[in-house]
Amino acid sequence: MRDRRSALTVAAVAAILGLLVVVQLRGQTGGSELESKSAQELTSIIANQNDANDRLRAEVATLQTQLAELQSDRATGVTSVGQIESELGRIRAWTGLDPIAGRGVTITIAGEIDASAVDDLLNELRNAGAEAIAIDDMRVIAQTAVGGVPGSLDVDGFLLRDPFTIRAIGRPEVLVGSLTRVGGIIAQLSATNPSATVDVKPVDDPMVLPASKRDLVPDHGHRRL
């Protein structure tokens, strides 16, 4: 009788334990991170995710068209050189391996400014949808790092002139709006770097940004199949 009661007790505790493990594990997944955010933060996240998902849908559509054309060419025994060249051109321009042209914005910076402030500016331009950026005649790529001290900044080891100009390709009104909004990056830079002047101008005529001269294929890794 006593053994049976013990077994029942252990079984009851084990059942509760199992239930709590499941509840805990479910709580760790999905929206647990979002649950801790305020309505305002969530609204901001949703707006950003909507934009991001729209861009991803456009990419899916582009790739589907490309795949359909390839499959059609293959079925008819034709290999489209033009299509491969077009894809190659798009990826090389996006990566920074080829020059790129388009309208956008110029930002002229004179005086002493921190390397981290320039880095923040590049980050803000990327966030605002810039498709390509150059500092003077140097194309900004993923690996680009701004270093040095105010007065002698360098981009990947190349000294910057004073003044220097950042050119970014994207929708001019969006880029200018994002940079110059109240409390935005330009206002922050002016507050933290009072000896620097930053001049932002939209550019409606196409600018040509140069290609990077760096070899971007890694030496210390290879494609994972």
């Binding site: 013990s6 077994a7 007790t9 334990l17 709590l20 493990v21 509840v23 805990q24 999905g30 991170e33 979002l34 955010k37 309505a39 933060e41 969530l42 609204t43 996240i45 949703i46 995710q49 861009r55 991803l56 849908r57 456009a58 990419e59 899916v60 790739l63 795949l67 390839l70 293959r74 290999t79 990826i91 321009a93 996006w94 990566t95 920074g96 020059p99 042209a101 981290s116 880095d119 923040d120 980050n123 810039a130 498709e131 140097m138 900004v140 993923a142 690996q143 790092a145 981009v155 080891g157 390709i169 929708r171 040509v208 001269k213 760096r214 294929v217 210390h220 890794g221 290879h222 994972r224």
Partner: protein
């Protein structure tokens, strides 16, 4: 001593099982209560609708990214099948592969390091700023810039590959990398030379970062040098909407890319 051991041996096994189970039960209840804290603070009808919408969008995003990766693989496979047909196609496909590797559109494996940044566990002093005790976008950008400066060739953060258009920003207490919201601890995986960490730790900026962020605010900074590191492919958009390529003449099939690091 022998008396204690004898007493322990005398305890029935079901009592030991029950004791252990109750201990685990207590731990789980405590963990569950702790996890419930922030939810209780914000729970409103409006919020739960917003959370559902955000979770739905995140799910959509994951599906779209998987679709993009799958489509790119299908396209590459078809291109490879036609690779041997003509010399000109073969050359174009070789260049396309190189461009995709440079763009971050292929997953990579190689030598490198993994760095981890975590929120501070130190209590925030009454006159302190809570944000200083959290690992955030500015910390990630600092570490990423230092890694590029010291020889990293490719970087990902929590599975998001960094590319030429990647922004790293704080939004609503999370960090947005590419189109993905990520939460700490942040794992930065960098592909580079075998002495990448030696180079990084010798950089003055790294010393200052560790001193200010770990020394002053207790931000968790750790690293590992595994045998190899794996980086995922970029699964976002490479569509040019506002710009167009200005092609450069194709190199002859026998020429090589210019080596060097100067832009």
């Amino acid at each position: 001593m022998t008396t204690i051991a004898a007493r322990i041996r005398a305890i029935p096994s079901w009592q030991i099982t029950l004791g252990l189970a109750l201990l685990a039960l207590g731990f789980l209840i405590a963990a569950q209560l702790a996890a419930e804290g922030p939810r209780v603070r914000y729970t409103t009808q409006e919020r739960s609708t917003l959370v559902e919408a955000a979770v739905g969008l995140q799910t959509q995003q994951s599906e779209l990214k998987s679709r993009i990766v799958a489509l790119r693989k299908q396209i590459t496979d078809i291109e490879l099948q036609g690779a041997g047909s003509k010399e000109v196609i073969k050359d174009l496909n070789t260049r396309l592969d190189e461009a995709r590797i440079a763009a971050g559109l292929f997953p990579l494996t190689g030598t490198g390091i993994v760095l981890k940044l975590e929120d501070s566990t130190e209590p925030v002093p009454p006159d302190g700023n809570e944000a200083d005790y959290l690992a955030g976008a500015a910390d990630l950008r600092t570490v990423v810039a230092l890694l590029w400066q010291t020889g990293a060739e490719a970087i990902s953060i929590n599975g998001e590959r960094l590319t030429t258009t990647t922004a790293i920003i704080d939004i609503g207490g999370s960090v947005l990398v590419n189109a993905a919201y990520i939460a700490g601890p942040y794992e930065i995986t960098a592909l580079g030379p075998t002495d990448l960490f030696v180079r990084l730790s010798a950089a003055p900026g790294w010393e200052e970062f560790v001193r200010t962020r770990r020394g002053s605010f207790g931000i968790g900074i750790s690293w590992a040098e595994p045998d190899h590191v794996d980086l995922p492919a970029f699964s976002g958009s490479v569509t040019l909407r506002e710009s167009k390529s200005v092609p450069t003449p194709a190199p002859s099939p026998t020429s090589t890319q210019p080596a060097g690091s100067a832009p």
